[in-house]
């Protein structure tokens, strides 16, 4: 190769290398309201975050059908963070600097949201999250969540045990995710208030194929019910293991996809109980403001997705509607205005419950919206 050819090759390669990152010119149109979602569309959070994304998109479509927000069309920008914190930082950065999003309504990957929270706060963009809130006060200032407090799911199960059973000893079985750890701490703290004793605490990994050891330990400790905390296929694993062990313990799981519960109820029957959000038990709900609000979401949801679980999608829908309420109240989609207005939202009826934000409380659901349910004759039935 001659020197000239070599130079040409180097120049072309260099140009191509630089071009790898071109095409990322910032673009922002004043007549468009851009909602950014950093979601784990792949990786461990995929099931939940895909549902969250679809709920946000459904809300955006519904708003656009009515003419948008203050005359602005709503556009949803979704970036896959692969359920990894580093990818989330890159995704957030792209949406801030290249896509020019106005607000984030991001998914349930807590670590990803934590990793990017400082950057988002510096960019003065509010985040309405599916996950728990970041830990730093300066970051919480810009972050809000639709997630009910960790204690609510635990309290609902403890209430049932206190009121409707003779069981006074429970075992806690949890995965190591942040939300599950918070629930575990709450369970240990409040059990006494319900006249219960935590006989044992065992942990598992989301990909564990056998939970016999943990369940045997809890049973040996005298637990009459297993308070299972965490997502994924392990609920069915636990149910099968309990049946194999001939255990008589109740299995009481936290909020999860309804599709997971049907095979579990076939294994354990009425010894299986689960925490459900209002949208998951819509057909069993009495007439109420919550039911009316859920129906606004559930009608287009069922039309598009059939009997797919609506829980996480409904919270995504709530995230959009809360943001729109803040924009309309402040008549502005500027980050600081949205943030300030979200803090003043009280008594907002969403699909998951009533949201009450304050400057001190960025976790909007303050009253327990959950029910305890079981599956009987292929139908979801509320028991508490």
């Amino acid at each position: 190769m001659s020197l000239r050819n070599a130079q040409r090759t180097v120049a072309m390669t260099a140009a191509m290398a630089a071009a790898l990152l071109f095409g990322t010119a910032p673009a922002q149109a004043a007549d468009v309201l851009k909602i950014g979602i950093s979601a784990g569309l792949t990786g461990y959070a995929a099931t939940v975050d895909r549902a969250w994304r679809d709920g946000v998109q459904l809300a955006a479509d519904a708003l656009n059908a009515k003419g948008g927000v203050m005359g602005r069309k709503v556009e949803v920008v979704v970036e896959d963070n692969r359920s990894e914190p580093q990818e989330a930082v890159t995704a957030y950065r792209k949406m801030i600097s290249s896509d020019g999003v106005d607000v984030f309504i991001s998914g349930c990957v807590s670590a990803g949201n934590f990793a990017a929270a400082g950057m988002v706060a510096r960019a003065e963009k509010p985040m309405m999250l599916c996950s728990i809130l970041p830990q730093q006060a300066s970051q919480v200032k810009w972050a809000f969540t639709t997630l009910p407090p960790a204690g609510f799911e635990v309290e609902k199960r403890f209430e049932y045990l206190r009121d409707k059973t003779q069981i006074r000893k429970v075992g806690v079985l949890h995965d190591p995710t942040p939300y599950a750890l918070l629930q575990k701490s709450v369970a240990e703290k409040i059990a006494g208030k319900y006249g219960l004793e935590v006989a044992g605490v065992e942990s598992y990994k989301q990909d564990d194929a056998d939970l016999s050891v943990q369940l045997t330990k809890l049973q040996s400790a005298g637990a009459g019910a297993v308070i299972k905390i965490g997502l994924g296929g392990t609920t069915l694993t636990a149910a099968k293991n309990m049946k194999q062990l001939g255990s008589s313990m109740l299995l009481m799981t936290s909020l999860e996809d309804l599709a997971v519960f049907k095979p579990v109820s076939e294994v354990l029957g009425d010894r299986f109980l689960f925490v459900a959000s209002p949208s998951q038990v819509f057909d069993a709900l009495p007439e109420s403001a919550t039911r009316t609000e859920i129906s606004k979401f559930l009608e287009p949801w069922r039309a598009k997705y059939g009997d797919r679980d609506p829980n996480w999608a409904s919270r995504g829908w709530d995230g959009v509607m809360l943001t729109v309420a803040a924009i309309e109240a402040g008549k502005s989609a500027a980050g600081p205005s949205m943030r300030d207005r979200i803090e003043t939202i009280t008594g907002f009826q969403g699909t998951t419950g009533i949201y009450n934000f304050t400057p001190e409380n960025h976790q909007g659901i303050t009253a327990n919206p959950f029910v305890l349910a079981t599956i009987a004759d292929d139908r979801v039935k509320i028991v508490q």
Partner: protein
Amino acid sequence: MTSSPNIISRKGPDLRRVFPVPAQPAPRNRLAAAAPWLVAACIVGYALFAGGYPATVVGFALIYAIFVSGLNIFMGLTAQVSFGQSAFAAVGGYASAILTTQYDWGWLPAMVAGIAAALAAAFAIGYPTLRLKGHYLSMATLAIGLIAHEIAVEWESVTMGYLGISGIPPIDIAGYELAGDRAILIMLSLCVAATVFAVSRIRSSRLGRAFAGLAGSEDAARALGIDVARYKLVSFLLAASFASFSGSLFVHVVGYVSPEVFSLHMVILSFTMLYVGGIGTVAGPVIGALVVSALPETFRAFRDYQDLAYGTALILLLIFAPRGLAGLFAALDRKPSSDRGKGGTAP
């Protein structure tokens, strides 16, 4: 593991003749040698100019360049294998995070403490482990990475488990906080330059020649008087210190650390960077880190097909540049007719 280092000694006998190591083509003029650096400079220059999202992508790539340069010492120059380098990045990252947020240490002493801890861990692990060879060594190092990840998850009182550690301060120099995209990028570029200089010096030193010796044949190296176990350990320690350095940089740049950061994904990504860039070369880890980081971002617009496009691009790269991009640039400078039938041709 039989990767092929390209060691060109400035003094003494040509090791390629002494040991049956397939040699890499040597660039015949400075332009070809400078080509990968020019490409790297273009990418970093563009990121500096554009700031924002490209700066973030390239920033992460530069941190990985340091990590992979360390891995290259062990895998490229010494021809050993380690699936556990993420453990030492975790040691550095968590040491910096814990010492700066919980004990109010400055970033520099915390980083130095992290490197010291990584070296101590690497010595304790490497001393018995590096007596293993081939698949046994691979499995042992894989276990190191998995154990470190488990410790980060389970030792909640210190690492905060999956909740992670937030609020890690950015690096500051003389009271100036490096929090902006461009400031971070300049700082990381300087760190990469220092790393490249160090690796280059190691490669051409007596130490580097010993590494090359045991890379070609441990028995032959032993016959020549090279203390194989000792030099393998030194190589492992050097790789661990660079890994720890990169882990510390990561947590200060992002301001957050959790166990997912140092998962098996990090190992797979760094291996990809090393082989795409060119194992055994000084430029390879840098160009590999930049290209492998930029490629998936280029394909973001493909949405659900992003991984497919990225995978295809990687396969094409490895088909047409089996010695990595650094090797490709060197090969561009050679006359095709003179390549055929020579040992330097890529297999």
